[in-house]
């Protein structure tokens, strides 16, 4: 069996419902040793891919969650100042206080706090999966910095020297497109766009992830969500919302949708006041497949 089919099966075993596009992209990322940039709407399972990949390769997942203002000291490394200070004090008490020796000691690896990027580079054993989550939320400066790290997989700590990755980690970047990423970064990466899944795929995702939901319920839930995605909502429900909602309905032991139960649990799915009003209006007008009263 070839590798892509094998990957598909492995993903399936990890309860990730993948399609050939996802498997092919992962396969190429592993073979070509290039970072994979995954874009798509919120809640289509971008982050999950990295987690599943780490599981099926039996290796560690190192996650760097990006946010506005994320800088090198939070992403790469920082010195453990408190420990350094303590160490200096201890040495003073013991009486040997040659400044040069103290410096060499406190700027050694034992006093280094490794942040995700350095962890991934200095990782020993099988190469880890490095997930750079929501890269679009970081600043452009950080993106440029990341680019540098991703091209060399080496980091220079002035006090220590250069640390080079023994084996390149598998890198997965995700983005919600809240801002446009630089061409330089895109050029460096393989690309995968994940769209909202079609009905069949979403149904099998619900079946896999919410076994408590009956077959009929799952189909109704997915049908309604798919219908809502075509309505112009400001926050379009993702697959994770579908799963939340299906799980909520399963807990409530609903065997099928009724307007009442939809109305009560709509908050799992539609998370914006204006959207809620719109959906309730559509429901009242009988334009949504919410089952019979």
């Amino acid at each position: 069996m070839d590798r892509i089919a094998q990957l598909l099966e492995q993903l399936d075993r990890e309860a990730y419902v993948a399609d050939p596009a996802i498997a092919t992209s992962l396969h190429l990322a592993l073979e070509l040793r290039k970072p994979l940039l995954i874009e798509g709407h919120a809640g289509v399972g971008k982050t999950e891919i990295a987690k599943v990949l780490a599981r099926l390769m039996g290796t560690d997942l190192i996650r760097l969650q990006c946010y506005e203002g994320l800088d090198a000291s939070t992403a790469l490394y920082e010195w453990n100042y408190a420990r350094q200070l303590l160490h200096i004090r201890m040495q003073e008490k013991d009486g040997h206080a040659a400044p040069g020796a103290a410096e060499a000691q406190i700027f050694s690896e034992a006093f280094l706090l490794k942040r995700p990027l350095l962890q991934a580079i200095a990782h020993k054993g099988t190469p880890p999966v490095l997930l750079v989550d929501e890269i679009d939320r970081s600043d452009e400066e950080f993106e440029a910095f990341l680019l540098e790290v991703l091209s060399d997989f080496q980091v220079t700590v002035p006090e220590l020297g250069t640390i080079v990755a023994r084996e390149r980690p598998h890198v997965i970047l995700t983005s919600n497109r809240s801002r446009e990423l630089s061409d330089a970064l895109r050029r460096r990466c393989l690309y995968l766009w994940i769209d909202y899944p079609p009905f069949e795929k979403e149904l099998s995702i619900v079946r896999r992830k919410v076994p408590g939901a009956s077959e009929a319920l799952a189909a109704q839930v997915v049908g309604l969500v798919q219908r809502l995605r075509t309505a112009k909502l400001s926050k379009v429900p993702g697959v994770s919302e579908t799963l939340d909602w299906a799980a909520a309905l399963a807990v409530l032991h609903a065997s099928h949708l009724t307007p009442e139960i939809v109305s009560e649990t709509l908050g799992c799915l539609v998370k914006d006041e204006a959207d809620l009003r719109k959906v309730r209006g559509e429901m009242a007008a009988g334009r949504l497949p919410v089952g019979a009263a």
């Binding site: 070839d2 590798r3 892509i4 399609d19 050939p20 596009a21 092919t24 992209s25 396969h27 190429l28 073979e31 070509l32 290039k34 940039l37 874009e39 506005e68 203002g69 994320l70 800088d71 920082e78 010195w79 100042y81 350094q84 200070l85 200096i88 004090r89 040495q91 003073e92 206080a97 400044p99 103290a102 410096e103 600043d139 452009e140 400066e141 497109r177 809240s178 801002r179 446009e180 061409d183 895109r186 050029r187 990466c189 393989l190 690309y191 995968l192 766009w193 769209d195 079609p198 400001s234």
Partner: protein, 372 residues
Amino acid sequence: MSDLVQRVVGLCRDLRARGMTVTTAHAIDAVRALHFGALQSRERTYLSLRCVLVGRPEELEIFDEAFAALFGKQQAPAEGPVRVHRRSPPPEQAAVPSLSSWGQPGDEGEGGEDEQEEIKAASDAAAVAQKDFSAFSAAELDEIRRISARIARRLAARPSRRWKSGRRGPRVDLRRTLRRSLSNGGETLDLRFRRRKPRKTRIVALCDVSGSMDLYSQFLLQFLYALQGTVARVESFVFSTSLRRVTDLLKQPDYAAALRGLSAEVHDWSGGTRIGACLADFNRDYPAMIDGRTVAVILSDGWDTGDPAILGAEMESLRIRSRRVIWLNPLLGSPGYEPLTQGMQAALPHVSVFAPAHNLSALRALERHLLA
């Protein structure tokens, strides 16, 4: 295999001709990708090459076309076509009229029958009208300038999340402090501090000077002029049927001189409006002007004679790339006005602040709003 290499190279060339960025490194990766078992089926080849060569969702459709052209149209791609917004075809030049006598509070309805008479016909041909914009009193000008300055500063000044080390600041910079203490044998004699660097925001202002904006144009231009004079990084544009960068024209020591320059240089005052097309021009011609630190300010009533789908798409592109999109609509100040025009409807989802700007009190309110 060598035939395939040639085809891949051909594909890369084709994609480049269609406007995608495809480097030699891409081509090499594409061939390597085929090597790693992408040849078993057409679908595999398609998915592998797509993964390597495409870099953004807008390119998916272009890729599909190029791939089909080269490898023959066989069946639909595996997951069906991906629905991503793509540039719509240019608008047919519909002569949808724009209002000229709009704006007396109270008489704006939602495009009823009786309004038709007030509508200026066929206004896409720019009605050339050289105007004298100097009706404001000196005191009013001063007040506008002061408020604009405060608004501009509010928009621009924002502490960055990044730190800067120095002798003063609210927080101790441990790393530097410790480093320095070493030269005193570990004794901290001299504290180093750090503070937030100020973040430099750029403002790009796009002002509608079409016929329907007649009443407000002079007021808004005044605002634009004041904005320009306050913060270093302001870029100004005016638009009606076409877009014109006026940053340099507004950089005059006094407003009268700026206006003289404007009237001499800008010729389609009071014509019709094609906001979508003008925004498209802006997005195409000045792509680097908008980045994650840029606040885009649009001053317009949203009366667009173009295709609302274009306006929506261009607004989206603006929103994605900018920090914030602010739409100042003079009509919003009129009681009972609701943004129901198709253009406004298409634009609104992409606007983070939608506020009135028709007089001084509205400007003051805007200032308070931005503070929050």
